[in-house]
């Protein structure tokens, strides 16, 4: 039994392959790019508001799993953990966050996985370059976003960042992916 959010949606048989030019996909891509910009600028409070209340933000270790609740992750945040994480990143107690690396990230190679009337699931490639004290670290990963579309504002319903080296050692981070 598990309440893990699933990243792979099922497309109805016979439905057309989603196009990048679909207006719903464009809305989703805009939100993903807005998120990337907020994270690089460390505007965590605004970043958190992009998420739906029941959304999960996950950085798994196991490259293959969809069962995040029953496995160990680097990040497995519901709304409560996200709020505490944003507090941690901004309140000034965390010496890693206070002296965090500067980051620049590129999110691209979008693949629409599923496009529904009110929801888009997108895969993308993300490369984050983090610079701190004379050293550049590369954090490359495959990202899945599920975006809820709504008149009242599009929201991230799920984000999963699968680092290509998630099963190996990575640096301890003072920023978010």
């Amino acid at each position: 039994m598990t309440d893990s959010p699933q990243t792979v949606g099922s497309r109805t048989a016979g439905s057309p392959i989603p196009q990048l030019t679909d207006p719903r996909v464009i809305r989703a891509v805009e939100l993903v790019w807005q998120e990337a910009d907020l994270l690089d600028r460390k505007e965590y409070q605004t970043w958190q508001e992009l998420y739906a209340e029941d959304a999960y933000y996950v950085v798994p270790i196991d490259a293959a799993t969809e069962d995040f609740a029953d496995t160990l992750n680097m990040v497995y945040d519901d709304a409560r953990m996200r709020r505490m994480r944003v507090t941690r990143m901004t309140e000034g107690y965390s010496i890693a966050a206070v002296d965090a690396a500067r980051t620049v990230r590129t999110v691209s190679r979008f693949v629409p996985v599923e496009v529904l009337a009110d929801e888009v699931t997108l895969r993308s490639a993300q490369v984050v370059v983090a610079y701190k004290r004379g050293r550049h670290d590369v954090w490359a990963g495959e990202v899945t976003h599920r975006i809820s579309l709504s008149e009242s504002g599009d929201r991230i319903a799920l984000k999963v960042v699968r680092l290509i080296d998630s099963e190996d050692a990575v640096p301890a981070a003072g920023f978010l992916l």
Binding site: M1, V59, I61, D62, A69, D70, T71, L72, N73, M74, V75, Y76, M81, M84, R85, T87, R88, E91, Y93, S94, I95, A96, A97, D99, R133, R135, E167, D168, A169, V170, P171, A172, A173, G174, L176
Partner: protein, 432 residues
């Protein structure tokens, strides 16, 4: 010899002279020659932790890891024995296995297909006619380390001459027994492993698990994010019952939450934390009685202590912290999450909670680990300065007294455990 460190002598002193009763030299973190000596004099001459038995559940289970810098495979053979084998083909030296864990019948070199059994014996060589009269197959097995275990903790050593593992552990065994009680009546199993690197010497990490003094400072961010009961549980700074014992052989135990040191001792007065209320309901509906539930839930945060084993593993509250020296200024750390192994309807909900507690503090994006790593990076950078100025490990020196068991004991915020580890380091680095 206890010559004061000076700018004239600090680069000349022999490694053992860099450790004094209350101080060590920063050169111990920064000198690549000392690091090379440590790899042979320490990591190849003592018991190094390599696995928990739950990682090797059946014949053919293996994990690849390291003893010091040397790659090893730890595998369970068909007779049930655990073997630690150097991960290097006897032919031309290629690594045999690049998978972290798995299930195999044996190991075959990808280069020329020499194949080995789970016990390291050489089984097959393609086109063997070229070796007729050249070598004996029976003498060409994988290099095997001595392997022994206690309480599910598997250790290996390159040194056939050192004492048996149980003698090396000595009084540590009692504390390993206590640590395992957090299974709440079930054996422990590995649930998952976080891995991260920091740019600093391995001994900075070795010190940290016995450093109660840093906790409320470095981990203020974590303390601010947990519920009041958990924060209160970790408020040991002014608790006189919170003490560290020097257990000998470089080992020590830091009791942060002494009332949880022996989880079998329970007068029933301690309420279970309200955050686990829904877990209790779930366990009840799985048919577990009140006593069984209390044992599991009271142990959700683990034991009350960090048991620090020289040189590479700490049994830390609820998990294992394993260090691997990479170079003089780089160390790899594993945080191994543990939980009870039993019927799924009972242990699955318990372990989901344990995973969330582990993720909250540990790992590269935890609320604790990145702040530790920042502190350690800063030690490595700062220790480059004024090499004649010592690293101080003198906290609580005058209030250290023997416990009834004969263990040198002081407050948990004192540096008793570091002094224990450095005393062992000094003795091992003095051996020829």
């Amino acid at each position: 010899m206890n010559a004061p460190f000076t700018s004239e002598n600090i680069h000349e002193l022999a490694p053992p002279d860099l450790v004094q009763a209350d101080r060590v030299a920063g050169r111990m973190y920064t000198d690549p020659e000392i690091f090379e000596l440590e790899m042979t004099k320490i990591f190849e001459r003592t018991w190094v932790w390599v696995a928990h038995e739950s990682e090797l559940p059946k014949a053919g289970s293996f994990k690849s890891t390291f003893v010091g810098r040397q790659p090893v495979i730890v595998a369970r053979d068909r007779k049930g024995r655990v073997n630690a084998l150097v991960n290097r083909c006897r032919h031309r030296g290629a690594s045999l296995c690049e998978q972290k864990t798995g299930q195999v019948n044996g190991f075959t070199c990808p280069y020329h297909a020499w194949s080995y059994g789970l016990d390291g014996a050489l089984r097959g060589i393609p086109y063997p006619d070229g070796y007729e009269g050249v070598m004996e197959k029976g003498e060409m097995g994988l290099k095997k380390l001595r392997t022994e275990s206690y309480g599910g903790m598997v250790f290996a050593t390159f040194d056939d001459g050192i004492e048996p593992l149980e003698d090396f552990l000595g009084d540590v065994k009692l504390w390993i027994d206590r640590f395992m009680k957090q299974g709440g009546g079930y054996p422990l199993k590995v649930l998952g492993t976080h891995q991260f690197r920091f740019r600093g010497n391995w001994k900075i990490q070795l010190e940290n698990t016995t450093d109660g003094y840093h906790f409320p400072i470095v981990h203020r961010s974590w303390m601010a994010s947990v519920d009041a009961e958990t924060a209160g549980m970790m408020s040991f700074m002014t608790d006189p019952a919170a003490v560290t014992h020097n257990l000998g052989n470089g080992h020590s135990v830091a009791q942060m939450v002494p009332e949880h040191s022996d989880l079998d001792i329970d007068d029933g007065s301690e309420p279970l934390q309200p955050r686990f209320a829904s877990l209790v309901t779930e366990l009840k509906s799985a048919g577990l009685g009140d006593t069984g539930i209390r044992k599991l839930v009271r142990a959700m945060h683990g034991t009350g202590f960090n048991l620090n084993l020289f040189p590479n593993v700490s049994m830390s509250i609820s998990f294992l912290r394993v260090l691997r020296p990479v170079s003089v200024d780089e160390t790899l750390i594993e945080h191994v999450a543990l939980g009870p192994d039993g019927p799924a309807d009972i242990v699955a909900p318990v372990n989901r909670e344990r995973l969330r507690i582990h993720e909250h503090f540990q790992g590269p994006f935890g609320f604790g680990t990145p702040d530790d790593a920042e502190g350690w990076d800063r030690v490595q950078r700062g220790a480059q300065g004024a090499p004649d100025m010592p690293i101080m490990v003198n906290r609580g020196l005058t209030r250290e007294t023997p416990s009834p068991e004969g263990w040198a004991t002081s407050h948990v915020t004192d540096e008793t455990g570091m002094r224990a580890a450095y005393d062992k380091w000094k003795r091992m680095m003095s051996d020829d």
